[in-house]
């Protein structure tokens, strides 16, 4: 039986899709049969980040409305075995998503896959609520910034009340905090909230910390999930995150500010 993980945040632009792609890729690299679903109907992005935008024929809405089969709509990742992508529709809107339709798709996928990663749209409306409704676990993506923290707090409230697990009084959705775009230098300078403050306000388990990194933008534009870039700090940080999702104990990295040495400043080196 598959585990359903929703990647969500409330606020837009914090790195949900990047994280969904990176986590799904990381799980597949670890040998888990994984499918990642784009729930952002109307603003399809996941296919770009996964580098499969030229291979989209059918999408989630087609499947829900019975116009295509799941196997026709799912795209097999070219880089990793075990990884599939189910894209969103760019031409429909979120009203085309129905709870019954989503449930049926997830139930069918659950028979074949180990992990189903749901990439939630921003906001707290229908699309976001359906993305989280059937989840077993949630990765709440948060930037070190007050508005992002408040929106994540809001999403955590919804996870505790507007999910199937909450409505059926089952064990609650397992909530994980993923802090992205963390810049230790700016945290030290007081421009950004620090890790401890975010963790204290949201009061959930910290699953990972992704440093602000040029590698992420590069990966997005190339359509290669950053997890493949194991030379980069962000790629390594996502691998750590996936390991923790799988229950391993991995020490936290990249959260402390290391002053650049004179030499690296002179030669423009340093971490990427």
């Amino acid at each position: 039986m598959a585990k359903i993980i929703v990647v969500t945040s409330g606020k837009g632009g914090v790195g949900k899709t990047t994280s969904a792609a990176a986590i799904a890729t990381g799980l597949a690299l670890r040998g888990k049969k994984t499918v990642v679903i784009d729930f952002d109907v109307g603003l399809r992005n996941l296919d770009l980040i996964m580098g499969c935008e030229r291979r989209v024929v059918y999408d989630l809405i087609n499947v829900i409305q019975g116009e295509a089969g799941l196997n026709q709509a799912m795209i097999r990742d070219k880089r990793v075995d075990n990884l599939h992508i189910l894209p969103a529709s760019q031409t429909r809107d979120k009203d085309a998503l129905t709870a019954e339709g989503v449930e049926k798709v997830l139930d069918t996928l659950a028979e074949d896959f180990d992990y189903i990663v749901c990439d939630s749209p921003a906001g707290i409306e229908r699309g976001a609520q359906l993305a989280m409704y059937y989840a077993d676990e949630a990765v709440v993506v948060t930037n070190p910034e007050v508005s992002s923290v408040r929106d994540s707090d809001r999403i955590l409230g919804l996870l505790g009340s507007k999910t199937r697990r909450a409505e059926q009084n089952r064990d609650p959705v397992k909530e994980h905090l993923l802090i992205t775009r963390y810049d230790p230098e700016r945290v030290t300078g007081g421009d950004m909230l620090n890790l401890e403050d975010i963790h204290e306000i949201l009061a959930i388990n910290l699953i990972g910390l992704i440093p602000e990194s040029e590698a992420v933008l590069r990966a997005s534009n190339q359509g290669i999930p950053v997890t493949h870039d194991q030379k980069s700090d962000a790629g390594q940080a996502y691998s750590d995150t996936v390991a923790r999702l799988l229950g391993e104990e991995v020490p936290l990295r990249f959260h402390e500010y290391q002053k650049k040495s004179l030499l690296s400043r002179m030669f423009g080196g340093g971490r990427r």
């Binding site: 408040r150 707090d153 409230g157 919804l158 505790g160 009340s161 507007k162 204290e200 306000i201």
Partner: protein, 243 residues
């Protein structure tokens, strides 16, 4: 203590009062049109027209001069008793006074009074919150998150966790927060002036006791981030460190 100690020696005393008053908002200054409409109304609801005092509001009219005397006569002949006029310029004021009527300045659209109004509840209470009207005290375990509302309408509310920014906790009695209070806390919502708010770490967006409130901006910064208790002393919210 009372200012009216020597009651026997006084012919009267002034008292403030708020009385319901029918406002007749004029959209036409033509006495004939007013009369026609009054005839229709009188047939519909004769019980209403029993020398009912009314306030004539002329705020919607643009004419500087009004046939106020004729308008009043039309009203009186239909058993409405104009007692005052609201709005209009200097000529309207003078003719109102000449007719023995009171005059009020135009009603401003002003924000509701800062000190006595209970803020409206959050627009969308989360399902975890008990609806207002639940009986007795209540213990909430865990963090109250942004957008959630938790209330104990008829008793004390105890929160074992934090109340985050954007969250709202309400109680008919006291509120105890065993964690950081970053959201809004409204105690004594039915007017209990003995109610208090107690928290481990004060960062509240809003503190309200029996309708009297303080915003985060009004709180002494020295008290922030520390254990605190909030009480009502003579309509003033008093915040003190919790020893």
């Amino acid at each position: 203590m009372s200012l009216n100690v020597d009651r026997a020696g006084n012919a009267f005393s002034f008292k403030g009062g708020m009385l319901p008053m029918t406002v007749m908002e004029l959209t036409s200054a033509d006495p004939e049109r007013i009369r026609e409409q009054l005839v229709g109304k009188l047939n519909q609801a004769p019980a209403f027209f029993q020398h009912t005092p009314v306030m004539l509001s002329v705020e919607k009219l643009e004419e500087p001069h009004l046939a106020l005397e004729r308008i009043c006569a039309v009203c009186r002949s239909h058993k409405l008793l104009p007692v005052a006029v609201r709005g209009g310029g200097e000529p309207v004021k003078q003719s109102a006074w000449a007719l023995g009527l009171g005059w009020f300045p135009p009603q401003e659209v002003r924000p509701r009074s800062l000190e006595t109004v209970t803020p409206a509840p959050a627009e969308e209470p989360a399902p975890v919150a008990t609806p207002l009207g639940s009986v007795g005290s209540r213990i909430h375990r865990g963090t109250v998150r942004s957008g959630q509302q938790v209330s104990a309408a008829d008793g004390d509310l105890v929160v074992l966790g934090a109340v985050n920014a954007g969250a709202e906790v309400l109680a008919g009695g006291n509120i105890h927060v065993y964690g950081a209070l970053r959201g809004r806390a409204l105690a004594g919502i039915h007017g209990d002036r003995e109610a208090g708010i107690f928290c481990h770490e004060l960062h509240a967006e809003l503190l309200s006791l029996a309708g009297n409130y303080k915003r985060l901006e009004d709180i002494d910064p020295q008290l922030l981030g520390k254990p605190a208790q909030v009480r009502l002393d003579d309509d003033q919210l008093t915040i003190a460190p919790l020893a």
